[in-house]
Each structure stands twice: as C-alpha cells, then as structure tokens.
C-alpha cells in the first residue's frame, strides 16, 4: 500500500462517517410493512440470504441503521421430504442441468426479540386487507398463517396477539415507514389463469377501502410514509417467458407454416369463444394472449400444440370458476383477462395515490419503474440486466420475485425519491456488492429434491422450462428425481376461497 493511499485513508474514513451520519440523522427508526416484496422473497422462499439483500435491508443499510431487525429465517439443507418451504436454484448434477430445490426455510433465529420487527413484510399471498385484518394467526391453518405468523408473532398466546402488521408498525413509533402491498389482490388472477372480479381479483371498492385503512393506519404526524403501487404483473417472466406461438424445441425459433406463426391452442372464453376444428380440440390463442410458466410441462407433452405440427391438439387450460368456491387454475390469459387485470391495476393505483394524498404520504411509482425495466432493462457500468428468465439478472428463479439486482434497483429508486422529495442525502446503494456477490446457499449440505407441493408448480415445470429456454446448442438433461411429498399440513380452505384454491403461492 503506498503512501498516497495511506494519506487518503483518513479522508475516506471521514467521508464515509459523514455519509453515514447524514443518513443516520435523517431517519432513526425505519419500519416496513407489506407483502413478499417487502419480506425479500426470492426464488420461492424467504431466508436470511435473501433478507440481507432485500431492498428494505439495503435501504436500512444506506440509512446507517444498525438496529433494523428482520425476522431472520435460517436457510437449511433441503430434506426429503421437505420440512420447510423450498428455495429454488440452478444446479448441475453430473451432466444434467436443471432447476431444483437447493435449500429450505429453517427456524426464525430471533423469534424472542421483545419488540416487533422493523421489517413486518410477509409472504403467503396476503391481500391488502390482511395488513389491518390479520390480527391473529393460527399456526398450521394455512400458508399465510404460517408465514405471517413468524413475522407478526400474533398467534393466540404470542407476544403480539391481536395486533395487525399496521398495529405493530405503530408500536415502534417509526419516523420512516415504507409500505408495499396489494399485489396479490390482482396477482392471483395470473396464477389462476383467469381474471374474475370477486374470485381472483379483489373488487376495486374493497381494495380501496382496505387501502384507506392501511395508509391511514400507517400515517402519523412527523412520520414520513412512502408507498409503492402495483406493477403491471403481466410484465414479469412468469407471464412473458413462453411465447403464445409454437416454438421449435431444437432451434427455439417460432414455427412458420405458410410464412405465418402458429398460435398455441386454448379453450376460448366468453370474449373469444372457441369452435374447434378437428382434429384439434382447442382454438388458436388470439393475439395478445399470455402463456404462464407452468404451461411448459404441458407443452412438453404436446398439449396446446396443434396436431398439424405434432401436438395433441388439446387446449392449454384457461382458469374456470364454478360457484360457490370451485376454481380450477389454468395457464393462459386471454386478452380480455389481461385488459381486466390492467384496468384493475390502474384503479388500484388510483386508490393508493388518493389514500396517500389524503394522508400526506409519498407515492413511489413502482408501476413505472417496472415498466421501464421491462422495456429497456437496466444498464449500469457497462453491464446490462434484463427481465429475461434465469439469465436476465433482475428476476429470481421463481419468475415473479426480483433477484438481488432487482431489489437493488428498487432500493435505489426509493432512496432517490426520498432524496428528491425530502431533501435528504442518503447515499445510493453500491451495486458492485449486489452484482458480483454469488447468490447461492451458504449451507454446504444442500441436496436437490423435487417439489410437488401445492405452493409451487412442480419441478417438471422448471425442467421443461429450462430445457426450452436454455438449450440452444447445449444439451440439457434434467435429473429425474422422484417427487417428494410435502409435510407442511394442507388445511381446509379458509373463508376467502381464492387464497386456497389458487395453486401458486408466491406472495
């Protein structure tokens, strides 16, 4: 180390202290409330590896807060059968390459913290109403109860029994609150493969009422409240990776017949009724349809592919609902579904904006941020990130939740907004740490097991996707691991039918 460097160290240290001090003096008590995007979920689970690199943790670090407490969930080796919630990863087994369960959630390592956690975000697909209404969780009653319960600790006899996330946030008397929720109120339509208000989509009136309660409940004099809005969920890899046309699995190029693309087949819906032409039993998906990731398994079996190009001619399923509470999930969204989802998001975001205005909160336009990233990617220092599945860097292996880089982008956006609106000087995140730190389990005994539980699509889904998406000129052989039964109890449906009939529990 040369003399110049030695001389510069005190200056650098002073600058770092000043930078830290500026952040620390700005906000002393930071609390976050919301769904899995606040909890820091990645690749299907919330564990300490992800929590440390979530956008709220990054923000707390930039604020200089050393006492920002999260419900630290240990990451443990995956067991067969599973005893926790599975975390996905890409693994190489001999010459086989595939997506698999590389670890699972363990215990909450700071369960006895005598105060609420600063990060009160939880996964398990909470709706907007849950942040004020979920005051008592019942262990084992549902995934939501299990996952919310370990964060809120509000079960019968637990330290915060009877308190909602909003209540616990107020108990901490924060000077800065970040809220981001409501995504699941519309995201369930995508997981169910059908958009039906009151079934897979929370009615706007109900959403508005819940939003007003949450925002008003989190507002207080002298407190800065910032809330994200709802991104356009159809821009995420879960919905955009599989094109709605037949693709040659060898070349990965669209199949052309007479110079025309060959649409995949669907069963039709009210707006696009289907009259099949034998030998196909489905009809061409109209332009603008979306095919969800779980369709990859069916496509591998020839479902959704016309007989004329070697398929079965059977349609990919579209979600259906039979009153009073029977929802069968599908894997395609028709243009009318998408229109309803997008118009609902617009209404939701108007409700969030209005609630923030009424309560002096600061809106953060997450919708615009994700739209921008989806359109152009994110370029930094000559590195290009995109929303491409598995190889883009912004989204994690579940195709729904961000990877560390994606969370870094969210944190950066949040900090820049605060600096602009509040005149603070919070240092922006350091993307070198985010981009170049391998995101792999820190445990050494991780094993690969298959996941066939009700909270995720199966390993076959991923196997098919990886074969389709990555095998351009590199033969990918997926391991044939027997499906493992899940031991987490699957309990009777809760009163709200949507939550338990939908198959994919990402938030």
């Amino acid at each position: 180390m040369n003399k110049k460097l030695y001389r510069s160290l005190p200056l650098a240290a002073a600058l770092a202290l000043v930078a830290t001090a500026v952040g620390a003096q700005t906000f002393q008590n930071f609390v976050t409330v919301g769904d899995s995007l606040i909890a820091g979920e990645e690749s299907g689970c919330v564990v300490q590896r992800f929590q440390r690199r979530s956008w709220v943790a990054i923000t707390a670090g930039q604020l200089g807060l050393s006492d920002f407490e999260q419900p630290w969930i240990s990451e443990v080796a995956a067991t067969n059968p599973l005893t926790g919630y599975p975390c996905l990863g890409l693994v190489l087994n001999g010459t086989s390459l595939g997506l698999a369960i590389v670890s699972e959630t363990g215990q909450n390592t700071n369960l006895t913290l005598p105060r609420p956690y600063n990060n009160l975000g939880f996964n398990g697909s909470p709706l907007m109403a849950d942040f004020v209404e979920l005051t008592v969780t019942t262990p084992g009653a549902s995934d939501l109860d299990n996952l919310a319960g370990r964060v809120l600790r509000n079960c019968m006899g637990c330290p915060f029994q009877g308190m909602s996330a909003v209540d616990e946030a107020n108990l901490l008397t924060p000077d800065l609150v970040a809220f981001w929720g409501g995504n699941n109120d519309v995201l369930n339509a995508m997981f169910a493969g059908v958009a039906i208000v009151g079934v897979t989509i929370t009615p706007v009136d109900s959403f508005t009422n819940s939003t007003n309660q949450v925002i008003a409940g989190l507002s207080a004099s002298g407190r800065t409240l910032v809330s994200g809005n709802i991104p356009n969920i159809i821009d995420i890899p879960y919905a955009t990776t599989i094109p709605p046309v037949v693709v040659d699995p060898t070349t990965m190029l669209p199949v052309l017949i007479g110079g025309q693309l060959v649409p995949l087949l669907g069963p039709g819906d009210d707006a696009f009724p289907c009259t099949p032409v034998p030998p196909d039993s489905g009809c061409a998906l109209p332009q603008g349809s979306l095919v969800m990731l779980p369709a990859s398994t069916l496509l591998g079996q020839g479902v959704g592919i016309p007989v004329a190009v070697g398929g079965t001619g059977q349609p990919l399923p579209h979600g259906t609902f039979t009153p009073p509470s029977t929802l069968v999930a599908g894997v395609v969204l028709y243009p009318d579904d998408i229109t309803l989802i997008e118009s609902t998001i617009v209404s939701y975001n108007q409700a969030i904006a209005a609630a923030l205005v009424a309560n002096g909160g600061i809106p953060i336009d997450s919708n615009a941020l994700f739209a921008q990233v989806s359109l152009n990617g994110f370029d930094i220092g000559g590195i290009h990130l995109s929303t491409a599945y598995a190889t883009g860097g912004i989204f994690s292996y579940d195709g729904v939740h961000p990877a560390p880089s994606g969370y870094g982008i969210v944190a950066d956006d949040f900090i820049q907004l605060l600096n602009t609106v509040k005149g603070t000087n919070i240092p922006r995140p350091n993307f070198s740490n985010i981009l170049f730190t391998p995101n792999v389990p820190e445990i050494t005994s991780a094993v690969t097991v298959a996941d066939n539980g009700p909270w995720h699509y199966s390993l076959d889904t991923w196997r098919g996707l990886l074969n389709a998406g990555l095998a351009r000129r590199f033969a990918i052989q997926m391991p044939t691991v027997p499906d493992a039964p899940r031991v987490v109890p699957h309990l009777p449906p809760a009163p709200r039918a949507v939550r338990h009939v939908e198959r994919h529990d990402f938030d």
């Binding site: 650098a12 600058l15 770092a16 930078a19 990863g89 890409l90 693994v91 190489l92 390459l97 370029d379 930094i380 220092g381 000559g382 590195i383 990130l385 598995a390 190889t391 883009g392 860097g393 994690s396 292996y397 990877a403 560390p404 880089s405 870094g408 950066d412 240092p427 922006r428 995140p429 350091n430 993307f431 070198s432 740490n433 981009l435 170049f436 730190t437 391998p438 995101n439 792999v440 990555l470 351009r472 000129r473 590199f474």
Partner: protein, 436 residues
C-alpha cells in the same frame, strides 16, 4: 529566390519521418485534440495564430508562411505523458471504495513541416502532424471496475497537409490547403453476463476492436489569413474543416473462462467468438483559431489567442458489425463546442529566446458523458520554453504542465458509472529547423 526551388528535397528524411508518424501512438487530448504541434508555439501557450513565424505555422495559421521567405524544413516532435490519472468510485456503481488508475504511458508524436517559397508572394507548405489522438489504458484491466465500458481506448491520427499561401498585399497573406487524415482505432473491453447458477455477474468475453491507421482516412481542408498592419503586430485567424473518417477493422471476441464448465459451455454455444468485421465513424471537428502577436521594444513579444472547436459535430460513437453476429454499439456523446484562451510571452536576447505561456481550455465533454472511455475536463496549462534561432537554423524546446480540474460524475452518467477523475499531465516538444 527561384534558385531555392531547386534545392532537392531530402526524400529519405521525409520517408523516415512519415513512417515514424504513421506508427506513432498519439495521446493527449483537449477532448481528444492535440495542439502541441510546434515547440515555439508550445512555449508560448499555443498562442501562435497571430505569430506564426516558423514552419509550424502550417498547423497554427498557414497564412503565416506567406511572410516566411526561405526554404525551411523543421522537424521534431512531442513527448507527452501522464503524471497521474486516477479514479475514485462512488455509489451506485462502481461504489465507494473502488479505485482505478490509468497507466502512465508516454507517447511520441513526431512532426515535420516544410516551407517552399515559389515566388516572392506565393509559398507552398507541407505539414505532417497528428492533431487528434487518444490513449487511455487502464491499469489492471481485468480487475478494473470500468472494464465493461473500456479497458483501453486508442485513437491515432496522422495528417498530411499541403497548403499554398499568397500575399495579397505586403501586409496581408492568405492561405488554403488540403488535409488528408489517416486514422486508426483500438478499443478493448470485457463483457459481463449473469451466471445463471449464481445469479451474479461474471466476465464472459473480451472484445478488441482494431482498425489500422493506414487503412482509413478522410479529406478536409484548412485556410488562414494573417494581417501585419505594422511589422510589430500580427493578427491571424485560421480555420480547419471537420473531417469524417469511416473505419473498417476487425472485432476479435475471446472467451473469458469463468471456472464453471457448464456455464462456459452455454456461453461458448451462444457467443460468436472469433474475428468479425467492424465499422465505425468519427467526425473530427472543425476549429477556428484567432490570435494576435505584438512585439514590444526590448525583444518582448506578447501573443493572445482564442480558439473555438466545433465539438458538437462529435455526436456519437456508433460501432457496427456488418456480419450481424454482434449487436451494434451505439453511444451518444452530445459534446459541446468549446473555447480555449491562450496567452504567451517571448523575450529574445539576440539569437536566444525564452518563452512562457498559459492557457485555459474548456472541455467539450458534458459531465454525463465522462467515463472510462474518455474522461476529459477543463484544464489550466502552464508552459515554458526556449530557443536558439539564426537565419540558417534554429532549435526550440517547449514544455507544458497540464492540470485538469477534478471531474466529479456523481449524479448523471451515460454509462451509469460514478466517481471522481483526477489527472495531471505534461508535454515536451522539440523542433530543429534548417533554412536555406
């Protein structure tokens, strides 16, 4: 006078000089303009458009050779180097704690000028010099955080500039000439990609773009005017047109093994490693130099100058791969026109002269464009020199110390690459003149 026309040109000297120029590595930009093309001018702060009394006038103000009545050959060159050029990173990327350093390369730029009086009023001049150049090679290129933008950037130029000057009046000379510019390029950088196994960035490829100096060129022209209302005062202006050079070259793409064989196999299958054709274009800007030289009693000469360069014509650096195997690289630059203000003073003692000078040079590069490819800034430049000149021969030596202002890129960056650039540099120029 006509007898002098029969003096044979020393072809060997020319050949050696030309070869030397064509193989030299250029450097030291104002933007990436290089004005140290004469030793006397350098000693006087490059305020030479209104003086222009040696053969380097072909570069500074070709009308100046209208007042030079002897066949003269002047040759020499500049040596330029960096004293220090460093980078300190800032968030969000590459982040606090990151640092970089430019290699302390030394560059040699030969020059050669010849003035041939054809008649008492008509003069021919030939200049060979290197008015633009860039050399920016970052230290530890495989670890340098800016390696995905640039590890090494080189622009070479060599101009061949024949001019004619004619004295319209005993006190007024004009000049015009053609300017052919050879130019070569070299750009190197790494490419990063997400390792799907670790969801983190890794280096997967190294790309070197190369275009030979002698393979590319473009035509331009220059002109000048010089008015000496009295022998003690010279007022001059010169213009140099913009020159567009279209480059053809090669892009060599090499794989960088990551240590993960499965990922490397995926990369190898999808990235077109090998050699590919590449094309690009640079629009070198037009410039106007205006100056005055005033000789006082006692051997003092004061020179003042203001120079304008039309850097706004440098709008983009777009690199294309005609075989379609690689996506084009389009980088907007949005540079501004720039001004430089110069002052120089000479004191003669018979055949001896000492010179000092100063100039302030505004950078054309907007802050958001500053990055590892080129980090320019406003600069204060202090110069000094001395010379010994007789009617038959002369030798001049000039030097410059260049202190750049620190360039802080902390809020907006085209490359999203943030930090502070610091740089100091120097130049030494020597020329030998022989006149007949």
């Amino acid at each position: 006078m006509r007898q002098r026309l029969r003096v044979p040109l020393p072809p060997l000297v020319f050949a050696v000089a030309v070869i030397g120029l064509l193989t030299s590595t250029t450097a030291y930009p104002s933007g990436f303009q290089v004005m140290t093309q004469g030793a006397k001018a350098t000693g006087m702060g490059l305020a030479f458009a209104g003086v222009a009394d040696d053969p380097s006038a072909i570069f500074y103000n070709p009308a100046g050779i209208g007042f030079q009545d002897h066949f003269s050959v002047m040759g020499g060159g500049a040596v330029l180097g960096r004293d220090s050029a460093t980078f300190v990173g800032a968030n969000p990327y590459p982040g606090v704690g990151d640092a970089g350093k430019v290699q302390n390369q030394v560059f040699a730029l030969p020059n050669l000028y010849m003035v041939v009086p054809l008649t008492a009023d008509l003069k021919f001049g030939l200049g060979i010099d290197a008015p633009y150049g860039l050399g920016l090679r970052w230290d530890a290129p495989e670890q340098w955080s800016g390696r995905f933008i640039s590890q090494n950037a080189v622009i070479k130029t060599t101009d061949i500039n024949p001019v004619f000057s004619y004295k319209l009046l005993p006190e007024l000379s004009i000049a015009a000439g053609a300017d052919y510019r050879f130019s070569g390029l070299q750009l190197e950088r790494n490419t990063a990609a997400i390792d799907p196994f670790t969801q983190s960035e890794v280096d997967v490829a190294h790309t070197k773009l190369y275009s030979n100096l002698t393979s590319n060129g473009g035509w331009g022209y220059n002109a000048g005017i010089m008015w000496k209302p009295v022998p003690q005062i010279g007022v001059g202006a010169s213009y140099r047109s913009k020159i567009t050079v279209n480059y053809d070259g090669t892009a060599t793409v090499i794989q960088r093994p990551t240590g993960d064989q499965a990922f490397d196999a995926l990369v190898a299958a999808q990235v077109p490693f090998g050699v590919h054709p590449v094309t690009t274009q640079i629009v070198f800007p037009a410039s106007i130099n205006t100056g005055v030289g005033i000789s006082f009693g006692g051997g003092f000469t004061l020179a003042l100058e203001a120079d304008w360069t039309e850097w706004s014509s440098f709008k983009a650096l777009n690199i294309n791969f005609p075989d379609g195997t690689l996506p084009p690289i389009d980088r907007a630059t949005a540079w501004n026109d720039s001004w430089a203000y110069r002052v120089g003073l000479e004191k003669t003692f018979g055949a001896f002269a000492i010179r000092v000078g100063y100039y302030y040079d505004n950078t054309p590069q907007p802050t958001q464009d500053v990055g590892p490819l080129l980090s320019d800034n406003d600069r204060n430049v202090y110069t000094a020199g001395f010379g010994y000149n007789t009617p038959q021969w002369g030798i001049d030596i000039g030097g410059a110390y260049i202190k750049f202002k620190n360039r802080q890129v902390l809020t907006q960056s085209t490359d999203n690459f943030f930090g502070i650039y610091s740089e100091t540099a120097w130049a030494a120029v020597a020329d030998l003149r022989i006149s007949f």
